[in-house]
Symmetry: C2
Subunit: 344 residues, 2 copies
C-alpha cells in the first residue's frame, strides 16, 4: 500500500466514486448504462438474469491485520461470482456498497478497488454501480453480482436424484488451513511484535485464503463435455454443511468416501503441522469456493481425465441418511459444523 494518506472528505461521495472507478472499462455488451446515474441498466434479451448478494463485515468475515485490502477487494468479488457460476450462469455485472470509518484513507480504498478491478478483468465482469458511506466502526462491504444464463439452463440445489454421483472441483480445506496459520501468526505477533510472521512454504494455503478462484473453468468444462449437473452449489461453508444443503433441498441422503475427498499435499502437510485432521479441515473448513455438484452415473466417463473434478460419493434415499464412510470403513453421520456466523 502507498504510504501517502489522502483524507476522503476532500472528494465527497460522488467525487470518490468517480475517482475509484475511473479505470474500470465496460466489457459486456449487455451493460447499457454503468456508474453515474440513479441506477444501472442491463440488456439480457433472450437470457435469464441471475442475482446474488453478500455482506462482508470487518471483524466477522475478515481481519485486516492479515488481509491486504487489494486481496479483500478481489475476494469480495470472487465469493459472489462463485455463487453465479454455481447456478451454471456467467457473471456479467456487479454493484458494490462500501461503508468505512475515518481510519481509511483514499489510498486504502484505491487498493481495495484495485483488487475489485483485477477480479472484474479476470472474469470479464463490469462494475456498474455502487454506494459509499461512512461507518461508525470498521469496513463493511456489500457486493451484488448479476449473471446470465440461457433460459431454464440454471441449476438448482434441489434437483439431485438418488444414485447420482457427488463431485467436487479442486481440493478442500486449504482456505481453512490458511486462516489457521494467519490466526496463529497474528497471535504470536500480538504477544511479541518483534517476531516476524513465518509464512515460509505456506504459499499454497495462504493463497487459498487470500486469492481464491471462482471455478469458471469447471463450468466451461462441463458445458464443453455436455455434462449437465443434476444439482450444484458452491462450497463456502465447508463440505459437510454444503452437502447437507444439497441433501435437504433435494430430499435425499448421501454417502461420502473419506478417501475420495480431494486434499492438496500442502494442505495435508499444514494440517499435520497444526495437529489437525486433514479430513476434518476439508469437511468443516469453509471458504474454498469450489463447486459441489451431482451428475448422472452415465456421465462418469466424461470426467475421468479431468483432474480438477473428483467423485467423492453418491446420493441415496433420504431414509439412509447423510453419512461419511471412513478409510477404516466406519460410517459416521455428517453434521453441519461448517462456519456459522451466529455461533461466534
Amino acid at each position: 500500500m502507498s504510504t501517502e494518506r489522502t483524507e476522503i472528505e476532500k472528494l465527497g461521495e460522488f467525487g470518490l466514486i468517480d475517482h475509484l472507478t475511473q479505470n474500470f472499462e465496460t466489457q459486456n455488451s449487455s451493460t447499457v448504462l454503468a456508474i453515474g446515474d440513479d441506477a444501472a441498466v442491463i440488456d439480457h434479451f433472450g437470457k435469464q438474469s441471475v442475482i446474488t448478494t453478500d455482506l462482508l463485515v470487518e471483524g466477522v468475515h475478515f481481519d485486516l491485520m492479515y488481509t491486504p485490502l487489494k486481496h479483500l477487494g478481489y475476494k469480495s468479488v470472487i465469493v459472489n461470482l462463485s455463487d453465479i457460476y454455481a447456478m451454471n450462469a456467467q457473471p456479467t455485472q456487479i454493484v458494490i456498497g462500501l461503508a468505512f470509518s475515518n481510519r481509511f484513507s483514499l489510498e486504502a480504498l484505491e487498493e481495495f478497488y484495485l483488487g475489485v478491478q483485477i477480479a472484474c478483468e479476470r472474469y470479464n465482469v463490469d462494475l456498474i454501480g455502487g454506494d459509499t458511506s461512512t461507518s461508525q466502526k470498521g469496513l463493511i462491504i456489500s457486493v451484488t453480482a448479476i449473471g446470465e444464463v440461457a433460459p431454464d439452463k440454471f441449476i438448482k440445489r434441489s434437483t439431485a436424484e438418488s444414485g447420482d454421483l457427488i463431485c467436487v472441483s479442486g481440493d478442500l480445506g486449504g482456505a481453512f488451513l490458511g486462516l489457521t496459520l494467519m490466526e496463529r501468526e497474528k497471535n504470536i505477533f500480538i504477544e511479541n511484535p518483534q517476531i516476524q510472521p513465518n509464512l515460509e512454504n505456506e504459499d499454497y494455503i495462504v493463497g487459498r485464503l487470500l486469492k481464491p478462484d471462482a471455478r469458471k473453468d469447471i463450468i466451461e468444462y462441463l458445458d464443453e463435455h455436455k455434462i449437465v449437473p443434476t444439482a450444484m452449489m458452491d462450497i463456502s461453508d465447508g463440505l459437510s454443511s454444503d452437502v447437507l444443503h444439497l441433501c435437504k433441498q433435494s430430499e435425499l441422503g448421501c454417502r461420502i468416501y473419506e478417501d475420495k475427498i480431494p486434499i492438496n499435499e500442502a494442505s495435508r502437510a499444514a494440517a499435520f503441522k497444526f495437529g489437525l485432521d486433514p479430513t476434518v479441515c476439508a469437511l468443516n473448513g469453509g471458504e474454498d469456493y469450489e463447486l459441489l455438484f451431482t451428475m448422472k452415473q452415465a456421465d462418469y466417463d466424461k470426467i475421468t481425465l479431468q483432474e480438477e473434478i473428483s467423485v467423492i460419493g453418491y446420493m441415496c434415499d433420504k431414509e439412509e441418511g447423510a453419512k461419511l464412510i471412513t478409510k477404516g470403513k466406519n460410517l459416521f453421520d455428517i453434521t453441519a459444523q461448517g462456519w456459522n456466523a451466529f455461533a461466534k
Copy 2:
C-alpha cells in the same frame, strides 16, 4: 415491537432467512427462482434490467432511538425503489443483506422484515435473495433493487437541454424537518428521561421522515399523459445538491424560483417553530425521495392540472451558472449543501 425475545443462534443463518421470509409471496412473473439457492433467477425477455444498491449504516443513516424497525425495513426498500422509478423503470425484485450485533432479537428482525414486506406488497416487488450475518456493532442494511424498462426508455440525468422546464413532485423539506424534530426530542429525552416526546401536530413531517413514498404514481402519470422527461433523478440529498447533479451531468446551468419550490404548510409551520428558513430546508434537506425531472416547454399544458407536479424553473446554458431567484428577485448561486456523508 413484541416484548418476547428469541435469540437468533437458535435458528442459524439458513433457518433465520427461511423464517423471516416465509410470508413473502412472489408477485412478478419475471421472478423465476427466489430465495433458497446460490442466486436468484430473473426473466426480463424483451426488457432492460435496471439495478441500484444502497448501504444503510446505524448511527450514520438512521438512529434506532426514533426509527421503529418496521419503518426502517420499509424505508430501506423505498429509497431503492425511488432510484428505480427515477430511471423511468418499474421495480420488480430486491435482495437484502443484513448484518446485526447480538443486541438484536428475532422479534426485532421480524419487525424489520414486516416493514420490508409492506413495501414489497405496496409496490409489487419480490424479495428474491439475501444474506444475513453478525456485525461487531449496530445494524447494517444493504438493499439492491432490480427493475425493468422497455428498451432504451430509461431516463438519465445527463440529457436535459437548455430551455427545458425543471419539475419536482410532491413537496420538499418535510423529511429534514421531521429529522430536526426527532433529534430535538431525542436530546431533550437524553437530558431528562422523564419528559415524553412532544410530537403533537407533527404527523406530517414525522411521516415524511419515517414512511416516505416512492413516486410510482408520478411515473405512471407521465406515461399516461405521454410526457417523456428529458432527464430525471430522485431527490435524496436535497434539491440544491441534486439539481447541481442534473446541471453537471447535462453540462448546463439552471434558474430556480424560490417562490415556486413546493413546501407543505405543515413543513412551513414546523420550520418557523424551529427558527429555520423553509426554503433552506427544501434546498438543503435530504431524504424527501421526490422526483426531479426536466421536460420540454411544449409539455407544460399536460401538467397544469396535476397538483403533485410543480414547475420550479428552467435549464439554461452552462455559462449562466446555477442560480436561485429569490422572492425579492435577487440571484444567488446554488451550492451543494445537501447531506454529505463524508462531512460529518
